[in-house]
Amino acid sequence: MTERITRQDVAHVADLARLSLTDDELDAFTVQLADILDHAADLDALDLADVSPTAHPLPLVNVFRDDVIGPTSDRDEVLAAAPSVEDSQFKVPPVLGEGL
């Protein structure tokens, strides 16, 4: 069987998710994720030619709400929960770290 997921794949996904993993964790998650992918691959053994792709487990479509204004949040209450505030806005560090 080909390798379903490499240690590098796991490191890349962890990086995208802003997770910093130790070497031991990388090893452990590589094995666990491979097991999960193996489990999903069990489906390949079934003949699914007549089954249409499923987007959602519930058999519902077109669940809409009316375009009507509902309650809004109190700004002061919301901003009180923010780590840093300036001019009624959320103050955040620069993100696109280029040149920093």
Partner: protein, 480 residues
């Protein structure tokens, strides 16, 4: 314009594909009842869903879906079953760390848009997604890549957007501007968006690549963001074309990247660093059901669409017997209904379009199809000169009324041809040297001198002479 597109750098062709985001004109946001409203105090149009608070769930705004279908139909797209997806990335403008968008199953598939000159530009897709919050970069000179910190306002977070992805069918700045103008006219006409670029309710990302003229395969493209006006769009395309040609002629390669347009500096610069060569890990949004518009619903939405700018251009062109491109200004100004009605009353279509384009740029005021048609009848019947007609038209716009009555109140009487002849003969007699020069001169000189005599005739008649009749008289006299 078709055939050979203008070259920004000689020998090189610029290939452009535009991605236009337009905010949909709903009352509330895409997935919650917070108001979709521009210009409020920061962080006032927010609720737990737009803030992405834990435990909140999105519920789709049916009106946003309807408007998206309108856009799809107006752009001749296939309206289809669609599924929402999570686009995962970490950026403070999207506090739940993903944006709900559509990925492999957009609500609108392939379509096209027709420019005023009749060319069709391909549309790849037009899908629904939610807008992000607005970040303002503070400190470090204000440039995004050297900002000291950022301030985030979530009023815009969750506003419904339609993202219209165009094919790389555009070839120059004029093409790009024409496409955006047409798209904006369509969105406004169908009530899907207010299309205000300056308020950011319509935003254009521009994919630019260059290739030597004659080369078939496309060059590597760069995506330019932060374009806030049609003027910036043209400038950014020109800058980016030159930058890419400079690199290629220096033997370097173009790196596919996202670049930021800086309006003040008139240049683009690289925005995202390489590790953020984005890997969005899209997956179906488990909290939303698929959208499957029924044939009946689509037909109902189609039936309620107004005439589109393209259809209005074709309609007027057919009625006036001109090319569609000759009708675009009148349609853009929304004066085509007046033009149609006036032509239907029997007015000369050419005069209708000339007056609409040249003399009614500031609006039509109290002008009606009836008074407009009556005025043009006086003009084409020889009772009013073009100059007099223009004066009466201004009066009809300002005060309305009957063109014949206005003309006579202003003392515009059709000049008896004998009377005009006498005046012209007198002027010729008074200016023998000019007349001799006219007779002896080459075409250019004759034209110049004819202009002089027409001017004198106008002076002598206080503008009541018909310039065309004077010219005919001069021609007859000089031939005889």
């Amino acid at each position: 314009m078709s055939g050979s597109a203008p070259e920004i750098v000689p020998g090189w062709e610029t290939v452009i594909g535009l991605e236009v985001h337009a905010e949909l004109a709903t009352v509330t946001k895409m997935f919650s009842g917070a108001p979709n409203r521009f210009g409020g105090e920061p962080n006032t149009n927010i609720d737990p869903v737009s803030l992405g608070l834990p435990g909140t769930l999105p519920v789709l705004n049916g009106r946003a879906v309807e408007l998206a279908i309108r856009v799809g139909l107006a752009l001749n797209c296939t309206v289809q079953r669609s599924v929402f997806a999570r686009k995962n990335y970490f950026y403070p403008d999207m506090p739940k760390d993903f944006q709900i968008s559509q990925f492999d199953l957009p609500i609108n598939g392939e379509g096209w848009l027709e420019l005023a000159d009749g060319r069709r530009i391909g549309i790849e897709r037009a899908h629904l997604e939610e807008d992000t919050g607005k970040s303002t970069h503070v400190g470090g000179g204000g440039r995004i890549h050297e900002a000291g910190h950022s301030l985030v306002d979530y009023n815009r977070a969750g506003v419904p957007l339609i993202e219209i992805v165009g094919r790389p069918d555009l070839r120059g700045t004029e093409d790009a501007r024409a496409y955006v103008s047409e798209l904006r006219s369509i969105l406004v006409a169908i009530g899907a968006s207010d299309g205000k670029m300056e308020e950011g309710s319509m935003r254009v990302d521009c994919n630019v690549s260059v290739r030597p003229v004659g080369q078939v395969e496309l060059g590597t493209r760069c995506e330019v963001k932060n374009i806030n006006s049609l003027r910036s769009l043209g400038r950014a395309i020109e800058y980016e074309s030159r930058r890419q040609v400079d690199l290629l002629t220096a033997g370097e390669r173009i790196e596919q990247q996202t670049r930021h347009w800086n309006e003040d500096e008139g240049r683009t610069h690289k925005l995202r660093s390489k590790e953020e060569a984005f890997d969005y890990r899209y997956f179906p949004e488990p909290d939303l059901m698929p959208v499957e518009p029924s044939e009946e619903w689509i037909a109902e939405i189609r039936a309620a669409l107004p005439l589109l700018p393209r259809e209005r251009r074709h309609r007027l062109a057919e009625a006036a017997g001109v090319e569609t491109s000759a009708t675009s200004l009148t349609v853009d100004r929304g004066l085509d209904d007046l033009a149609m009605a006036t032509i239907h009353l029997g007015a000369d279509a050419g005069r209708v379009l000339v007056h609409l384009e040249n003399n009614l740029a500031d609006g039509v005021g109290l002008l009606t199809a009836e008074s407009f048609a009556a005025l043009i009848a006086l003009e084409t019947g020889g009772d009013l000169t073009a100059t007099q007609a223009k004066t009466v038209l201004a009066s009809l716009v300002a005060e309305g009324g009957d063109p014949a009555a206005i003309a006579s109140a202003k003392g515009f009487e059709a000049m008896d041809s004998g009377e005009l002849e006498a005046i012209v003969d007198r002027i010729i007699a008074e200016h023998p040297d000019d007349w001799a020069a006219l007779i002896a001169g080459d075409d250019k000189e004759r034209k110049k001198k004819s202009g002089f005599f027409v001017g004198e005739a106008m002076k002598a008649t206080r503008g009541q002479a018909d310039g065309r009749a004077v010219n005919e008289l001069l021609a007859r006299r000089s031939a005889g």
